[in-house]
Symmetry: C2
Subunit: 492 residues, 2 copies
C-alpha cells in the first residue's frame, strides 16, 4: 500500500517527526480516508517511503496503537480499527469526578482530541523549547557518561548545586551549594516538604485558590488544607492570622510570584507584613517560585526567600516552567535544621535523581543558556498574555471577571452565576476548547464558578479562537437562562 | 604552574577523565607533592595542558572542591587546602548511628577514601557498563527530543511499557503494556507500593534479614516491619503464618531470587507453598526481582509472579542492577485493583519520570542490547562470586559462616561471637576495607554479628585483598579475645 503521499511531513517544524506522522494518520482516519480494516504499511515500508528511521515509524505506530487507532498483530500487520471519536475521548476525560489527580492525568488524553484549543494546562510551549541548545549540553557529558550512569548523591549533582547556588544568588537568595537539595521537579520538592513538615491530620494553610497539584500531595499524605483567601495584594493576613491561632498549621504554602491559578503577584508591602507575621508566630512559609522568572512587567520579581532574615522560608523552584518539564528537575532551599530530614525522605521516595540530566542542566546554566532562553521566550509569553486579556475583553459576556496575570501562564475567570456554568467543561470540550474547572483549585466552593485559562502553550491565534468559542458558549447560556426564567414567570 | 606531567590520564580506561584527574590530584595532595596553599592552574590552563575540555577540568575541580581538597576564590584562583585524611572521612562516615539511610548516604563519602577496597554496596561495576551502546540509544532520540522534554504520562513512556511487557513475557509474566507502571528505580516502586498498601501503624511482613532500603521506606511511612526468618529454602512459612494470624500484615516483602543481603534464592517447593499460603489468607506478596536476571547457575531464575494464578503478587523490578542505576528506571506490575491508586500516588510523589531516559531504555531493549549485555557480564559476576567464596574459605577464622550466593551481588557473613565484632566496621575502614554492618538489615538483633559483603563492583583481585584484610582483623581479634580472657583468670 502506498499512502505516503497523503502525509505531509515538515522537517523544519518543532514537532517531532513521529508525532507529525501519527497526527496525519489520525486525521486520515478521522476523515474516513483510511477506514477501519485498512492495512497500514509495515514499519520498514513506512520508514522507507517517508525517508525516516524505522524507530520513528515504530514510534508513530506505537502512538496510534496506544491511542486505540490501530491494532498490530504479529505476523499479520497493522490495521486501522474503529477510530476513537472525540466524543469517546471526552467521555474518558470526564470520568466520574474532576479531582486534581484526574485532571492532571487527563493531560495526555486531552492531547488526543483532534482540533482542540487547549487552555487547560500551565505548561511552556514545546515550540519554544531550546531543544538543540540543551541537546548540546547533554552531548557534552559523553565523556563522563559512565560516572553519570552510577548511583548518585540523594542531594543531587554537586555541579548542578553550584550552578543553582549562583543563579539563586543573582535573585537575592544566599544559598551555598550544600544548602540546595535537587529534586525530581517541583512536585517531588513539595512532596518532600510536606512529608518533612506535616504528619497525617496536621493542618496546612494554603492560598485560596491554590495549585491543584499541592492539594493532591496534601491529600495523599493526609494533611488537611485550610484556605486563606487572596485579595488584590496577595494572601490576606487577617485571615491567615486567624487560621494560625485556630488551627496551628504546620506551614503556609504560597506562590508570591504569579500564583497558579490566578497569575497575580504579592505586593511588596504584603510580603514585608507576611514575613513579620510569620516571625511573630514562628510559622514556616513554603514559597513556590516556579513562575518567578516568567515576569511580564519591566522589573524581575524578587522571591520572598530573598528577604527571609529569620530563616522561616522553605524555597521551592524547578526547571519545568522556565525551561522544560521533561527534565524533571526541581530544587529546595530549606532552613538548616530541616535539610538532613529532607534528604533522608528524598532517599525513601526514590533514592536519587538521574545524574545525567542534572549534569546537563548544570552545563546549560553554566553556559548562560537559561538567561538567553528567558530573554527569547518572555516576549512571546507576554504577547500571549496580552492576547488572552484582549480576547476576554472582546468575547466574554457582561458580568464575567478575570485576573490580570503579571507573569506565569495562568488566568483566573469568575462567572457571575452558576446557571452559566452548568456542564460547561464537558460542552466546551465538545466545542473544541479545554480549560481547567476552578473547583479543582478550591478547598471548598466559594459560591462562584471559576475557570483557569492557561496561555503559555498556545499561539495568540489559538488563544483568540479558544476564548471566542468559550464566549459563545457563555452567551448562549445567558440567553437560555433568560428564556428559562421567562418561562417560570406567571402567565399574567 | 605546570604540574600536568604529574598526572597520568588514560583515555582508554572506563573511568571518566575528570574523575581520573581529580583522583590523581588527590593522590598528589595525599603524598605531599601538592602541599596546602599550593595554587593550582586555572581551569583554562589545566584543560590546555592536559588536552581536555574546560568542562572536564571544571568537573575535576568541582569534585576536589566538594571533597574539601581545594578551595576556589573568585579572582584569586584555586588553592590546595588541608587535605582530608582518610581518618577524617571515616569519622564522618561513622556519624552517630548506622541507620539504613545513613549507610546509603555514606556511599559517596566512602568513595572518597583513598585506597579503599569497598565491598559495601550492592551495585554493578561501572567498568562493565555498556555506556557506548546506551549512548547510541540516547542519540537515537535526538529527533524526538522536544516531545521527550515535555510533561509525560505518570504511568511512564508507552514505548518503554511495550518493551517491558515483551521482556516480562519472556520471563513468564503476562502483563499488558497498560499494566506496567514505570517508576524512578525500585526505590520509588517500593515507596509507591508501601503507600498504596500500608497506612501508618500497619504491619508489614519482611524476610529477616531484609534489604535495608525497604526498612528505611517503611520507617518513613510509619509502617511496622515484622521479621520472618529465612531457612535454606527461603522464607519460613510456619513463622509467616504465625505473623499473618497475629499481626495481619498488609503484605509480605520477599526477594525470591538472590535475596539482598544473603544472595540466596527460594526453592521451587517453597514458592509453591508460599503462593498457596498467600491464597489461603489472601495475603498480598510484594516480590522484589531486581537481581532475578543476575543468576550464576545454569538456568535462569523464574519470578514468583510467573506462577501467580491468584493475582496476589505485586512485582517490582528495575534497570539499576542489571544495567545502570543512574537511569533511575524501575517498574511495577500490580493486580488490576491497585493500579489506579498507584498511578495517583506516583503523581503525588513526583508527577512523572524523565521521558528521555525511559525512551532511550525502550530503544536499548528493543535492539536486544540488554540480553547482549547480560550475556557479557554474567561470567564476570560469576567469577567474582567464586573469588569471594574462595577468599572467605582461605581467610576467615574458624567459626565464621557465610551464604553461597546463587545470583545478585550479596553475601551474608555470620561471626561466631560478639567479641570478634566489636568496632569492626570502623577498624576495617581504617584498614582500607568497607562492608555493610549486618544490623542494618535486621529488625531486631538475632544474637549474632553479621556483615554483608558485595562482590559486584570489585575485581577478583580486590575481593581477595579486601577479604584477606578482613580475615586478618578477625584473626587478631580472636587472639586478643583469648589474651583478654586469660587476664581475667585468677592468678593461680
Amino acid at each position: 500500500m502506498s499512502f505516503a503521499h497523503l502525509l505531509e511531513i515538515d522537517r523544519q517544524r518543532g514537532q517531532s517527526l513521529y508525532r507529525q506522522i501519527a497526527e496525519q494518520i489520525k486525521l486520515q482516519i478521522s476523515d474516513g480516508r483510511l477506514p477501519a480494516g485498512t492495512q497500514l504499511p509495515t514499519v520498514r515500508q513506512l520508514a522507507h517511503s517517508l525517508n525516516v528511521t524505522r524507530a520513528t515509524a515504530q514510534s508513530a505506530y506505537g502512538e496510534l496503537q496506544s491511542g486505540g487507532w490501530v491494532e498490530s498483530t504479529v505476523g499479520r500487520g497493522t490495521f486501522v480499527i474503529a477510530a476513537p471519536q472525540n466524543e469517546d475521548i471526552i467521555t474518558a476525560v470526564m470520568g466520574n469526578q474532576l479531582t486534581p489527580d484526574r485532571l492532571m492525568g487527563n493531560m495526555q488524553r486531552i492531547g488526543r482530541i483532534v482540533g482542540l484549543r487547549s487552555l487547560a494546562y500551565a505548561e511552556p510551549d514545546p515550540a519554544l523549547f531550546p531543544t538543540e541548545e540543551f541537546w548540546s549540553s547533554l552531548m557534552a557529558q559523553a565523556h563522563d557518561a559512565t560516572d553519570l550512569f552510577q548511583y548518585s548523591a540523594p542531594q543531587g549533582d554537586e555541579m548542578l548545586r553550584v550552578e543553582l547556588s549562583v543563579m539563586l544568588g543573582e535573585r537575592g537568595i544566599a544559598a551555598l551549594p550544600d544548602e540546595v537539595l535537587v529534586t525530581s521537579g517541583a512536585t517531588q520538592a513539595l512532596a518532600v516538604v510536606t512529608q518533612t513538615l506535616a504528619a497525617r491530620g496536621d493542618y496546612v494553610a494554603v492560598e485560596q485558590p491554590v495549585y491543584l497539584g499541592l492539594l493532591h500531595i496534601l491529600g495523599t499524605h493526609g494533611a488537611r488544607p485550610i484556605g486563606v483567601p487572596l485579595d488584590s495584594e496577595g494572601v490576606r493576613l487577617d485571615c491567615l492570622e486567624q487560621v494560625i491561632v485556630q488551627h496551628h498549621p504546620k506551614f503556609l504554602y504560597t506562590t508570591p510570584n504569579f500564583q497558579n491559578p490566578t497569575g497575580t503577584g504579592m505586593s511588596a508591602q504584603r510580603r514585608t507584613d507576611l514575613l513579620a507575621l510569620a516571625a511573630r508566630y514562628r510559622l514556616t512559609i513554603v514559597e513556590d517560585d516556579v513562575y518567578g522568572q516568567l515576569h511580564y512587567g519591566d522589573t524581575p520579581a524578587s522571591p520572598l526567600k530573598a528577604h527571609d532574615t529569620e530563616d522561616l522560608v522553605v524555597y521551592v523552584n524547578a526547571a519545568s516552567k522556565v525551561l522544560m518539564p521533561g527534565l524533571r528537575i526541581g530544587y529546595i532551599v530549606a532552613p538548616f535544621a530541616m535539610q538532613d530530614r529532607m534528604i533522608s525522605i528524598r532517599q525513601a521516595n526514590d533514592l536519587a535523581g538521574a545524574p545525567l540530566l542534572q549534569r546537563a542542566f548544570a552545563n546549560f546554566l553554566h553556559r548562560g543558556r537559561l538567561k538567553i532562553h528567558l530573554r527569547r521566550v518572555l516576549p512571546h509569553y507576554r504577547e500571549r498574555r496580552d492576547a488572552l486579556l484582549q480576547a476576554l475583553q472582546y468575547a466574554m459576556p457582561h458580568g464575567v471577571e478575570w485576573t490580570r496575570p503579571e507573569g506565569g501562564f495562568c488566568c483566573w475567570i469568575t462567572l457571575p452565576d452558576d446557571q452559566m456554568s452548568s456542564d460547561l467543561y464537558h460542552e466546551a470540550l465538545q466545542h473544541g476548547v479545554a480549560f481547567t474547572p476552578g473547583d479543582a483549585f478550591l478547598i471548598k466552593p466559594d459560591g462562584h464558578y471559576h475557570l483557569r485559562l492557561c496561555f503559555g502553550s498556545s499561539t495568540p491565534e489559538a488563544i483568540h479562537e479558544g476564548v471566542n468559542r468559550l464566549g459563545e458558549l457563555l452567551r448562549e447560556r445567558t440567553t437560555v437562562r433568560f428564556r428559562g426564567r421567562a418561562r417560570d414567570l406567571p402567565l399574567v
